[in-house]
Symmetry: C2
Subunit: 324 residues, 2 copies
């Protein structure tokens, strides 16, 4: 790396696309430089509006995100897009959909698009979406659209960290409605019935409205149910208006502040867990680990007891070499 960390940070503050790309890759790969860079970037963040967009595969999320980004661009807003793709646990890489899709945004210097995988090498959300948000926020993106696929735990975790969550529904999705009923209703702030030119759109809208009438929110916001046809762009302007209304309403809202507190609390604990484990792994002698495994195989010691011993050794700073 030719330049220093402060220089790298300055390039990102200036919106340099190659510097941004290198920063995200560095963070994704868990490099120490990426971590130090994040620390430099963080004080200048907190300005971006983070919009989480989730829904079933095939609901039209990419198209809607593309059109929404274009709509924000027409108002001169700088936009970041993070597409969180489901990853094979084997391939390790994200589907690089950003290369082939969102052609309409290609060549626009006011948009930065990045795909990332949901799974890291040690399980869990290793390449944190939040860190990529920090980079794009520092780079001057005023709105950051985070698109996730599916309604699993990962997607919910991501949605929990957005400033606002949009749930995309689509007519004819069948038993997915059951999945959504299970709880996504609790996390979404805006509902969008996409492909609203289909005949069943009204029924879906009514079902969502009926479900919403039974749910309780801590704040005063009444989640709207909007209709869009992402392919033509119909209704996308209304979606942007609703998003901005939600943002404005929340600026003095105590519940919204409590939500941000809770988001950062989760994130800090997640980082604590990760940092504890990574520090311990660095110090853990391979020979010690091998000896532990032999003890387990011989049934001479159980794995829970061994893990507790390793924790004690870690705290004593014994380099975890003095197993027993």
């Amino acid at each position: 790396m030719p330049e220093s960390l402060p220089e790298w940070a300055e390039e990102i503050f200036g919106g340099d696309r190659r510097a941004i790309a290198r920063a995200i890759s560095s963070v994704e790969n868990g490099e120490a430089a990426g971590l130090e860079l994040l620390k430099l970037l963080f004080p200048k963040t907190g300005q971006a509006y983070v919009v989480g967009v989730t829904g079933s595969p095939g609901a039209g999320k990419s198209t809607l995100v593309e059109k929404l980004a274009a709509d924000y661009r027409s108002a001169g807003v700088r936009v970041g897009i993070i597409a969180v793709d489901p990853t094979s646990p084997f391939s390790g890489g994200a589907i690089l959909g950003d290369r082939i899709r969102m052609q309409a945004l290609a060549g626009d210097e006011g948009v930065y698009i990045r795909s990332m995988a949901t799974r890291g090498h040690l399980g869990g959300l290793a390449p944190a979406v939040q860190d990529v948000v920090t980079i794009l926020d520092a780079a001057g993106c005023q709105v950051i659209l985070v698109e996730t696929v599916g309604v699993g735990q990962d997607e919910v975790d991501i949605a929990r960290h957005a400033d606002v969550t949009v749930l995309l529904l689509v007519p004819g999705m069948g038993d997915d409605v059951q999945t959504f009923k299970a709880g996504v209703m609790e996390i979404a702030d805006l509902y969008v019935v996409n492909k609203a030119d289909r005949p069943e759109a009204d029924r879906v809208e009514q079902e969502v409205a009926a479900m919403l009438s039974m749910s309780q929110r801590r704040d005063d916001w009444k989640p709207p149910v909007l209709k869009t046809v992402a392919t033509t762009g119909k209704g996308v302007g209304n979606l942007r208006e609703a998003l901005e209304r939600f943002r404005k309403v929340g600026q003095q809202d105590a519940h919204r502040l409590a939500r941000r507190r809770e988001q950062w609390r989760r994130r800090l604990l997640e980082l604590l867990r990760q940092s504890l484990f990574e520090t311990a792994l660095r110090e853990l002698d391979d020979a010690v680990l091998d000896a532990c495994v032999e003890d387990i195989l011989a049934r001479q010691c159980d794995p829970h007891t061994l893990a507790e011993q390793l924790v004690r050794d870690f705290r004593r700073g014994k380099g975890m070499a003095g197993k027993r």
Copy 2:
């Protein structure tokens, strides 16, 4: 709890069903008693043959597992069944399918059936399948069938911990073949084409065989492709024979021992990560955590730096109260 831990352990060694049920619940709830119990049980384990069964939803896994269990029972083998169910991230509980299905095994004292959720309260595989295996192994189950749904990371993790992995395929599953191609081929030891009375069964069998001919295994085992009709029990006897052949071949196999080493190595590191975090959480003062979050919100300190400080304080045994 009326009895002591050693008494509880003795009840489990004797196969007492209520003692087993309480042990699993205790471990699932992360109770200290369950953890201590596992330590007492562990030395008497290692005898059970752990069979992982995975495949797409609708492939007929439960039915096959039920028939396979009945086949083992007819040979006088004591069987444990663990059904790992996908869980809503919200409800927190597993689908209690064991109550309604597997009627054929009801009332047989030689079979123990238990459902569990894949997700814990802190994300990740908190109620570890491995701990439930330990309990059933200690209780005298000679074969433990672990049934998982889907081919996500969780399922692969579980499959990685079984002694043998069976992948269930089914004719007419469409693009799922693509999913499997991505890598499940690398983890399965036996392939079963279920619903083999369907016309496309031969094609699926040939496709699997073709894929297998291109893949490389570290051991000498040639994964067989079997055909079953789980609903009628056809082919289930052959499956059991193949499973027992795999077991026998592996007893002196160096690759198989290396695989068990690697499984325990993973499990130990997983427990280390969990134990580190849980110990830190117990000591972490709520006021300290709140102060950290306020610093983040005010952009006075970044979350990565704060997490590193918390790790340092944890190691110093400072009760993590001296934040800076």
